[in-house]
C-alpha cells in the first residue's frame, strides 16, 4: 500500500515519551512478589499440599476462561467441556499405557484445542445470551456423552486405573503430593508466562479491541472472526491442560470434570477475581478455594451462602473484581502518599 500520510515512521515528536506503552509488558515488582507466595506456601502449608495443587490447577483453568472472556469477550457457561476433554484424554492415555505426564499434557492440549476450534464457529455469532446458551448446550452434550459411554469413560463411576508415570522418568508422584504440587505449579507458571506474552502482544491488543468495540475492529482492517476462533481455541487448550493436570495428580477422572457446576463456578471465580487481568484469575481462585476450604470446614452445608453474598457485593460495588479493587487502591495510594 502506498504511503499516503506524509508521516515517515521516524522519530516521535519532540519531548514525547512513549515509555508507558513501550514498557507496558515489563514485570512489576508486585508480580515477582506474587510468585514467591506459592513457593512459601509449600513450606508453610506442607500438610495441605493437595489443596494447594487443586488451587494451582483451578487457577490455570480460570486463566483459560480469562483468555476467552476477559480478553476476547466471549462469555461461556460451558468451559468445563474443554477441561473434561483434557482430563479424559490424559486419563485414557495413562490407563492404556501412555502414562508419561508431559505426553498426556500435550495430547490433552491438542485434543481440547481441536474441540475448541470446531465449537468456536458456534459462538462467533449472536449475543452474549446466545453464547451462554450455546456453550452451555455443548458442555451438557459432552457431559451426557461421557455419562453414556461407560465402557470408555467409566460413566458416573469415573475412570479407574489411571497410572501416571514419573515426570521425565525421574520424579514419581508421591503420597504427600509434593511432586504433584511442584508439577502443577510449574505448569501453571509456564502457561501463565505464555498467556502474559500473548495478552501484551499485538494479537492480545486486538482481542482487547474486539472486547471493547467489536464493530470498529473490521473497520480498521482486523479479521474479527479469525481472531475469535484463535482465542477460543487457545482458551480451550489451556482448559485441556488444566483438566489433564487434575487427572494426573489425582490418578482418577470423575464425571464431574464436565459438570455444569464446574463451568458456573469458574465464571463466578473469574468475576470475583476480576476479568481481563490474568492475575484476577489467579487471585480469584486463591481467594475462592481458600474461602471454600475454611467456610466449608465451619459449616459444610451452607458455606455457599457467603459465596453468594460475596458475588453479589462484587458485581454491584466492584465490577472489576478483587484485582480491580487492588489496582484502584494502589492508584489512590500513589495520589495521596
Amino acid at each position: 500500500m502506498s504511503s499516503n500520510l506524509a508521516a515517515p515512521p521516524a522519530t516521535p515528536a519532540n519531548g514525547f515519551d512513549p515509555g508507558p506503552l513501550r514498557n507496558a509488558a515489563r514485570w512489576h515488582r508486585a508480580e515477582y512478589a506474587f510468585w514467591v507466595l506459592p513457593v512459601l506456601a509449600y513450606f508453610v502449608f506442607a500438610e495441605n499440599l493437595s489443596l494447594l495443587s487443586q488451587i494451582a490447577i483451578a487457577a490455570l483453568f480460570c486463566l483459560s476462561l480469562d483468555l476467552i472472556l476477559g480478553y476476547a469477550g466471549i462469555v461461556s457457561l460451558g468451559h468445563a467441556a474443554f477441561f473434561g476433554v483434557g482430563a479424559y484424554t490424559a486419563g485414557l492415555l495413562a490407563k492404556h499405557g501412555w502414562g508419561d505426564p508431559l505426553l498426556g499434557l500435550g495430547a490433552a492440549a491438542a485434543i481440547a484445542a481441536a474441540t475448541g476450534f470446531i465449537t468456536s464457529f458456534l459462538v462467533l455469532r449472536g449475543s452474549d445470551l446466545t453464547r451462554l446458551m450455546v456453550t452451555l448446550g455443548v458442555a451438557v452434550m459432552f457431559y451426557e456423552a461421557a455419562n453414556k459411554l461407560t465402557a470408555f469413560t467409566g460413566g458416573v463411576d469415573g475412570l479407574q486405573g489411571v497410572e501416571v508415570k514419573p515426570i521425565f522418568g525421574v520424579f514419581g508422584f508421591d503420597l504427600y503430593g509434593k511432586t504433584a504440587y511442584w508439577y502443577s505449579l510449574i505448569v501453571l507458571f509456564i502457561m501463565f508466562c505464555l498467556a502474559r506474552r500473548l495478552v501484551h502482544s499485538p494479537f492480545g491488543l486486538s482481542l482487547r479491541g474486539i472486547r471493547q468495540n467489536l464493530t470498529r475492529m473490521p473497520a480498521i482492517g482486523a479479521p474479527v472472526n479469525g481472531r475469535l476462533v484463535a482465542a477460543y481455541t487457545i482458551g480451550a487448550a489451556y482448559a485441556g491442560v488444566a483438566g489433564a493436570l487434575l487427572t494426573q495428580t489425582t490418578q482418577f477422572v470423575s464425571l464431574d470434570v464436565l459438570s455444569f457446576s464446574r463451568s458456573a463456578e469458574l465464571l463466578l471465580i473469574l468475576v470475583l477475581g476480576g476479568t481481563g487481568r490474568l492475575y484476577g484469575a489467579l487471585i480469584g481462585t486463591m481467594v475462592f478455594m481458600t474461602a471454600h476450604h475454611f467456610l466449608s470446614g465451619i459449616n459444610p452445608q451452607y458455606w455457599q451462602f457467603w459465596l453468594g453474598a460475596a458475588l453479589v457485593l462484587v458485581v454491584l460495588f466492584a465490577r472489576d473484581g478483587i484485582m480491580g479493587m487492588l489496582q484502584r487502591l494502589h492508584a489512590a495510594g500513589r495520589k495521596a502518599p
Binding site: M1, A7, R22, A25, F203
Partner: protein, 250 residues
C-alpha cells in the same frame, strides 16, 4: 483523473423500503466529494454499502477497478477503503496511543503476532505517535480514551481511520456533535490531508460542505438526485426544494 471508487446501480431494500435505490457514483482519484441530503436520504446506508458493513440487495461496488461487492469489511480496509462512524466507535478503556497503535498494527499486518509485546514493535508506536502529533493529540496520548472531551474523541475517531492509511476515506459526519469552534479545527485537519487520499464526506453543516467539497452529490429518498460542483448545486432549484425547505444561505 481516474476513477477510484465507483458504484453501479447500488440498491438496498429493507422489507418494502429502499434505503438506497440505483445509486451510481463515480469518485475520482484525489476528490473532495461531499454527499448531502435530508435526514433519511440514505447517506449512511450508502457508506455502509460501500464499506461492506451492509450487503447490497443489488448492484456493485468497484474500488480501483476491482469489484469488491463480495469482500468483507476488513478486506476492503486492506485495499485502502476506510471509514469513520457518525457515532464514535472507539476503544474506551485503551489509552489514545494504544488504540491508534492497534490500528497501525493491523495495517502493518502485525495483528497475529503474539510473542513480542506491543512495546517492542517500535515502528508501530512511533508511527502512531507521529499521527497523534499531526492531529494535536499527543498531549493526551497516555490518557484513557473515555476520559477525553467529546471533540477530542471525535479526532480519535478520525485518527483510527488515518492509521489504516486510507486511499479512500469515507467521513460520516465527522463534526457531528462537536462545538462550532472545534469543528473548524477538525475540518482544517481534514483539509490538510494529502491529495493521494480521496475523501467522500457526509456532513450536515452546509457551510463546511461548501467550503470543503469540490463536487457534491445530492441524495433524496435513497436515490441520487444530482451531482455537480458546489456553485451549480447551490443554485439548483430542485436541491433547494427537496433538501432545503430551510435555505442554503444559513
Amino acid at each position: 483523473m481516474s476513477t477510484v471508487l465507483e458504484t453501479r446501480n447500488l440498491s438496498k431494500r429493507f422489507g418494502g423500503f429502499f434505503a438506497s435505490s440505483n445509486v451510481s457514483l463515480d469518485i475520482k482519484q484525489g476528490a473532495r466529494h461531499a454527499l448531502i441530503g435530508p435526514n433519511g436520504a440514505g447517506k449512511t446506508t450508502l457508506i455502509n454499502l460501500l464499506t461492506g458493513f451492509l450487503e447490497p440487495t443489488s448492484g456493485e461496488v468497484f474500488l480501483k477497478g476491482d469489484n469488491v461487492t463480495r469482500l468483507s469489511q476488513h478486506q476492503r480496509v486492506k485495499r485502502g477503503l476506510v471509514r469513520t462512524f457518525q457515532i464514535n466507535r472507539l476503544f474506551a478503556e485503551m489509552t489514545v496511543l494504544e488504540s491508534v497503535t492497534l490500528s497501525v498494527c493491523e495495517r502493518m499486518g502485525l495483528g497475529w503476532k503474539w510473542w513480542r509485546p506491543v512495546g517492542a514493535h517500535t515502528a508501530a508506536i512511533d508511527e502512531a505517535a507521529e499521527l497523534l502529533s499531526t492531529l494535536r493529540l499527543l498531549d493526551v496520548a497516555h490518557a484513557p480514551t473515555r476520559s477525553l472531551a467529546y471533540g477530542r474523541q471525535r479526532m480519535i475517531e478520525i485518527a483510527l481511520a488515518l492509521a489504516a492509511k486510507p486511499e479512500v476515506l469515507l467521513l460520516d459526519e465527522p463534526a457531528a456533535g462537536v462545538p462550532t469552534d472545534e469543528s473548524r479545527g477538525l475540518f482544517e485537519t481534514i483539509a490538510r490531508l494529502p491529495r493521494e487520499v480521496t475523501i467522500l464526506l457526509i456532513e450536515h453543516d452546509m457551510d463546511l460542505v461548501f467550503r470543503f467539497a469540490e463536487r457534491i452529490s445530492v441524495l433524496v429518498g435513497g436515490a441520487l438526485l444530482t451531482e455537480d460542483v458546489p456553485e451549480v448545486i447551490a443554485r439548483d432549484p430542485r436541491v433547494r426544494e427537496v433538501y432545503l425547505g430551510t435555505s442554503l444561505d444559513d
